[in-house]
């Protein structure tokens, strides 16, 4: 009897983690793309708003990446802006080096791969020592990593001339570039002159690819092992799951996706600077907010939350003083109406209580 009731009560869904069907997620993204693209074509959308579209998408991409780490793997990372930073600078330098040498499309594709590969490499290197430990070490180390990368790139001077690459951490003169040499990274001034290859369409394609990979991962052997570790490490070990290997895989993929977002970042901005505004820990926390409010483990939620929460403060700029007030109210509303399994349960609980209270009053 109880079995029957239980079965009736249990929603039919693929997994709890990514409750929604993958196809629906692609549909939502494609529909949003179609509507926005239509607005651009018909001229309804202001140029200010158009400029916000690419950033909106790359933040959605990092949110998807971070959700793999936080929601699927269950490890906290506070340094995803750092991986973005690496992807951004790596690809920007590559683009400067090969601009004019390679055809544009090929150059951007290679720059993209370089950015992703570098972020992957750093994710891997950080993972080697940290993911062997249990506890909050990953959060601490990634927080430090993000800050170190940002500060290091702020102080780095990199140039190229006929003698090859020159690097220095003190100043531009120390490079000793020949007159026809070219500055690649100019310390705090950053990288300028990166070609504007990233447009809204390309960003959406990257977002779809990131979602495709992430959702496939969740519904696979590797994803199950990763989520098993999240749910119960000791039990996972007892059935022969190699904890460190799967944690490394999840974290590295997560870093790679953040790197991809970084590539879009650097190819959408005229001057790329490693400033706190773009790559500080505040940004990492902001991305974490997108993930948490979109629902931890809910990939579609991450995309929606990132889009809304990125656009909102920008659109509210006109309201000046009230901007942050409205933003915080929206945060609270999103918190109540998010799609995390725990939040859904909490809402149902609350509704039941209200019902009970009303009955008593009557």
């Amino acid at each position: 009897m109880t079995d029957k009731i239980l079965k009736a009560m249990t929603p039919k869904r693929k997994t709890a983690v990514n409750g929604k069907s993958p196809a629906m997620t692609y549909f939502v993204v494609l529909a949003a793309y179609a509507v926005l693209e239509l607005c651009i074509k018909t001229g309804i959308m202001s140029s200010h708003l158009q400029g916000l579209l690419v950033p909106m998408v790359y933040y959605a991409i990092v949110a998807v990446g971070l959700n793999i780490c936080v929601g699927i793997l269950g490890e906290l990372s506070l340094g995803h802006a750092g991986f973005m930073c690496i992807g951004a600078f790596g690809s920007a330098v590559f683009s400067l080096l090969t601009d004019g040498v390679l055809p544009d499309g090929l150059r951007f594709l290679l720059a993209f791969l370089v950015g992703v590969a570098l972020a992957t490499l750093f994710g891997f290197l950080i993972g080697i020592p940290v993911l062997r430990l249990n506890g909050d070490y990953l959060a601490i180390v990634t927080l430090a990593f993000g800050e170190i990368i940002k500060n290091l790139l702020n102080a780095l001077y990199l140039g190229i001339d006929e003698n090859g690459l020159h690097a220095s951490l003190s100043n531009q003169m120390a490079l000793g570039l020949s007159p026809d040499g070219k500055m690649l990274i100019n310390g705090a001034m950053g990288v300028s002159g990166t070609p504007h290859d990233a447009n809204f369409t390309i960003s959406m394609v990257v977002l779809l690819i990131a979602l495709f990979l992430a959702q496939n991962l969740v519904h696979s052997k590797h994803g199950r092992a990763i989520m098993a570790i999240r749910d119960n490490r000791i039990a996972a070990e007892s059935i022969g799951i190699n904890i460190v290997r799967y944690k490394m895989q999840a974290f590295t993929i997560s870093a790679a996706i953040a790197g991809a977002a970084g590539v879009l970042f650097s190819h959408n901005i005229s001057t790329l600077q490693a400033s706190s505004q773009y790559f500080g820990y505040n940004v990492s926390i902001m991305i974490l907010v997108y993930v948490v409010l979109g629902g931890i483990g809910n990939l579609r939620g991450s995309v929606i939350a990132a889009s809304i929460l990125y656009l909102l403060p920008e659109l509210l700029r006109g309201l000046n003083k009230y901007r942050m007030l409205i933003y915080s109210i929206v945060l609270i509303v999103v918190m109540i109406f998010n799609w995390a399994p725990a939040a859904i349960a909490w809402r149902e609980n609350l509704a039941a209580k209200f019902k009970a209270a009303r009955k008593e009053n009557v």
Binding site: L6, K7, T10, S220, M227, D231, N232, A236, I239, I243
Partner: protein
């Protein structure tokens, strides 16, 4: 030859000798019970057998192979699977995925196949799903395949944990207090399940239990542990009527 042979097993935590000179021999296909008062060191023995702790002294021989000092993951591949005293399921995953996760080492495709769902993915996933459903059917859990593990009733959660352990194809199954917290009906059902898997899979089972009805009902041999040392061992009936054992459980007059 015995399936499991344990000799002179010792472990100390600081000054406490938690398990001292523990020995045990289990024949293939036996249903063996490990009993003893609270704090006697039963779970510590399980943790030693499954590599959670490395013993200070002693040897563990499984099926002729010395597995002393192997890590937990290796021991699972050597052929020992276990359940836990406090249920440890993958609670946010559906029932079927709990079992699928345990099939991890028996089926393989690459990470690339996982990310793209290309290559061997479809074929292997189909096999994994079929294997898992077959296993769930044995435990009568196939109705709940898509239910979240945490939403299962308590008794079914215990069963799922056993099913998950069985999915790793063990030679020896360790059950840590499988009947803890169960009502008499559930315990009776559990006894049937344990005997069923022993007969169906021809597996050897070692269980820790306090429920004497269960122990007396299904175990063929017992080892009694008290203060980390073996108090006595032998066929169930003999052990349970041994005055030493009764004294250890009920105390002196």
């Amino acid at each position: 030859m015995a399936l499991l042979e344990v000799n002179n097993l010792c472990i100390s935590f600081g000054g406490l000798r938690a398990v001292d000179d523990f020995h045990m021999t289990i024949e293939k296909g036996q249903l063996y019970g490990l009993i003893g008062p609270n704090g006697a060191g039963k779970t510590t023995v399980f943790n030693l057998l499954t590599g959670v702790y490395a013993p200070n002294e002693g040897r563990i021989i499984l099926d002729g192979q010395d597995i002393t000092g192997h890590k937990t993951i290796e021991i699972n591949q050597d052929g020992i699977a276990r359940t836990f005293q406090n249920i440890r399921l993958f609670s946010q995953m559906p029932v079927i995925d709990n079992v699928k996760a345990a099939l991890e080492n028996q089926y393989s495709y690459s990470l690339f196949d996982s990310l793209t769902h290309l290559g061997k993915f479809r074929q292997v996933e189909k096999e994994i799903t079929e294997r898992s459903m077959d296993l769930l059917k044995v435990f009568d859990l196939d109705r709940f395949a898509e239910t979240l593990a945490s939403n299962l009733p308590y008794g079914q959660q215990r069963k799922l944990e056993i099913a998950r352990a069985m999915a790793t194809n063990p030679k020896l199954l360790l059950l840590d207090e499988p009947a803890a917290g169960m009502n008499p009906n559930e315990t009776a059902e559990l006894m049937k399940t344990i005997e069923l898997i022993r007969d169906k899979f021809g597996i050897t089972i070692l269980l820790i239990e306090h429920d004497m009805k269960l122990v007396g009902g299904i175990c063929e041999r017992l080892t009694v542990l008290n203060f980390g040392r073996v108090l006595c061992e032998g066929p169930t009936k003999e052990v349970l009527s041994n005055p030493e054992v009764i004294k250890a459980y009920l105390g002196d007059e």
